[in-house]
Amino acid sequence: MPFVSYREKNQDQNQTRGDTMKTGFWRNILAAMLLGAGGLANGAEPIKIGSFLTVTGPASFLGDPELKTLQMYVEAINAKGGINGHPLELIHYDTGGKAQDAVSFVKRLIRNDKVDMIVGGTTSGDTLAAIPEVEKESIPLISLAGGIEIVEPVKKWVFKVAHTDRMAAAKIFEDLRKRNLIKVALITGDGGFDKSGHEQLLKLAPQYGITIVADESYGNKDSDMTTQLTKIRGSDAQVIINFGFGQAPAIVTKNLKQLGITLPLYQSHGVASKTFIDLAGDAAEGVRLPAAALVVAEQLLDTDPQKPVLLAYKKLYEAKYGPVSTFGGHAYDGLYIAVGAIQRAGGTDKTKVRDEIEKTKGFIGTAGVFNMSPEDHMGLNLDAFKMVEIRNGGWKIVE
């Protein structure tokens, strides 16, 4: 109301003193601008979301789509007027995959940038390194990484949205049981993702009545795995599982074909991208892997509640940046779980936001339907993965 009364008064003055019309006009503009700016500062302090991602370095194919997704949706949310009238502000740092940098960037986000919460940690290594700081400073963190150790045991302030390697292992074993393949040969790399997947496969095998008859490993930078595969050929394995991401799984796939080994091959969700099919070429035909629904969005039944979410994300992302990857999808899930929690909490009070994240129920994201609880800070179940097979250079759901 003061705004209106000021203008009315000013207009009266202008009428009585016509010669100062011009100054009065500019004074009005100035006053309006000042008031406007003041109003903006009062009513809409930005909500600061911090992020630390691996945008460069060996895991950049994970972090790059994540950052693009975050930026795209923060912009979209702000275009619609922000959250409860507050614009979102994204502050992000690139760790380059160095865990130690993750620690210093998280400190920087908390102390220097004073963010309200953090979405990020592209890799498990980065996230695990940052957890002690996050717990100490009591700030909600939603990780985009896969490792089960992030939420097991449950940590008060830490949540995650990406599928775990244990889910991938379980999904593969489930499919093996259906096909009655019980003698398995493992071949894995020496990276963090590979090692953690390897561990989960060994741990879960007995539960599914599966015997590991061969267990080979390679270096992720190796350019030939025929030695290991020849050894596997010598075993009585019925099926081969390769757990890894990047170049190496493509080489394994190609080497198998070159050696004329016809055993069925399972890969992990780490290769659920078009790049893998391009790298492995013909040899990729018939390879099965657990993948997030995003890569097969069009094939989902129309009754699937995830379908519209996936197609909408895909459309928006592809219009701007090109083919989607499941990893960018994790950033979407993380951001919207955060936004939902802030909306429900009615502000950025850290404890309230944390409690609201924990109460996330039935949130339909790209990775699946999330139902968090005090015991489960991820909230996805095995249905979140689809078993897909590569056919004619594309993905096909085989369930």
């Binding site: 865990a99 920087r108 002690p132």
Partner: protein, 314 residues
């Protein structure tokens, strides 16, 4: 009078957190700058004064850090004891290594120390059972100094600042002693030094061990302060960065090394905001310093200030 510079520096370090309370660049970046100063001052004893290059100093830093990390998390040792054990082990390894390695000169010495650094890094990555492998070791408890837990940024600043001042003070005194003069003689000409009756082998070994101990001490503090260590922090690149700090600041000057360490740490923290251009600006600045201040940042700035004073005097 000899230590006048030191006292001025000490007062500045104490005043900083009082003037800038709760400032990220003082209480967080400042801690990492302080640790770098300890490392650079230690390396400078070896490189700047004795003229022996080491491209494997991150290994000693890492060994100190992992010794503290492993002993406190896996065996629940008290932190000071773990730190002492780490220092003993590193000192012993450095002593064993020094004799054969320091007989080498120039490129060969660089190669040998480089190799040592890589071997230690590989062990950190592969010995998963002990070190936690590439994912690192987390949950390292913070330091507890006789019932005074070092659990806030400000307390850590105090501890690291004290350690840093101690390192600088030790270095300044060492350089001004008989050993220091022997070191400089070795740097000038090893043969001439021998002719003067200096046991060059012993002198070089001593300084190598002292330098490694400085690094291990910084490593141990680093592990407790971060609560987490991973092999990334002790890679070859870190060794190279340490050498850069010493050279950038100005060789054969304790304050030069300290200056280089602080400048490089602040530069890194300050340039992060430029994202993709960070490395570009970083490289350009380093090149500019080396071209326009070939004797290093410290001497260069010192001369610039003097010139300015003289001009204003006229």
């Amino acid at each position: 009078m000899r230590l006048a510079g030191f006292y001025v520096f000490a007062v500045a370090i104490i005043l900083l957190p009082i003037l800038f309370q709760d400032n990220y660049f003082v209480t967080v970046v400042g801690i990492s700058a302080g640790l770098h100063v300890i490392l650079a001052v230690g390396l400078n004893l070896l490189m700047g004064y004795a003229g022996q290059i080491s491209l494997g100093h991150a290994a000693f830093f890492g060994m100190g850090a992992y010794a503290s990390g492993i002993l406190t998390t896996r065996y629940a040792w008290p932190a000071p004891l773990a730190m002492f054990a780490g220092l003993t082990v590193v000192g012993l390894i450095a002593w064993l290594l020094a004799r054969p390695i320091l007989r080498l000169h120039g490129h060969y010495l660089a190669m040998a120390t480089l190799g040592f650094g890589i071997v230690v890094h590989v062990i950190m990555v592969q010995a998963t059972h002990w070190t936690g492998g590439p994912d690192g070791l987390s949950g390292i408890p913070t330091l507890d100094l006789f019932g005074w837990p070092v659990d806030s940024d400000l307390r850590w600043y105090a501890v690291v600042a004290a350690a840093m001042l101690l390192a600088i003070w030790l270095s300044l005194n060492l350089i001004d002693s008989r050993i220091g003069r022997a070191l400089r003689a070795v740097h000038g000409s090893e043969f001439a030094a021998q002719m003067l009756g200096i046991d060059t082998g012993r002198t070089k070994t001593q300084v190598f061990v002292v330098s490694a101990l400085f690094a291990a001490f910084a490593g141990s503090l680093f592990a407790h302060q971060q609560g987490f260590v991973s092999p990334d922090s002790f890679s070859l690149m870190v060794s190279v960065e340490l050498v850069t700090m010493v050279v950038l600041g100005g060789m054969a000057s304790t304050f030069g090394a300290a200056c280089g360490a602080i400048a490089l740490t602040l530069l890194h923290a300050g340039l992060v905001v430029f994202e993709d251009y960070e490395m570009l600006i970083h490289g350009a600045l380093l090149m500019a310093v080396m071209i326009f201040m070939p004797q290093g940042l410290f001497v260069g700035l010192d001369q610039a200030v003097r010139r300015l004073l003289r001009r204003s005097g006229n």
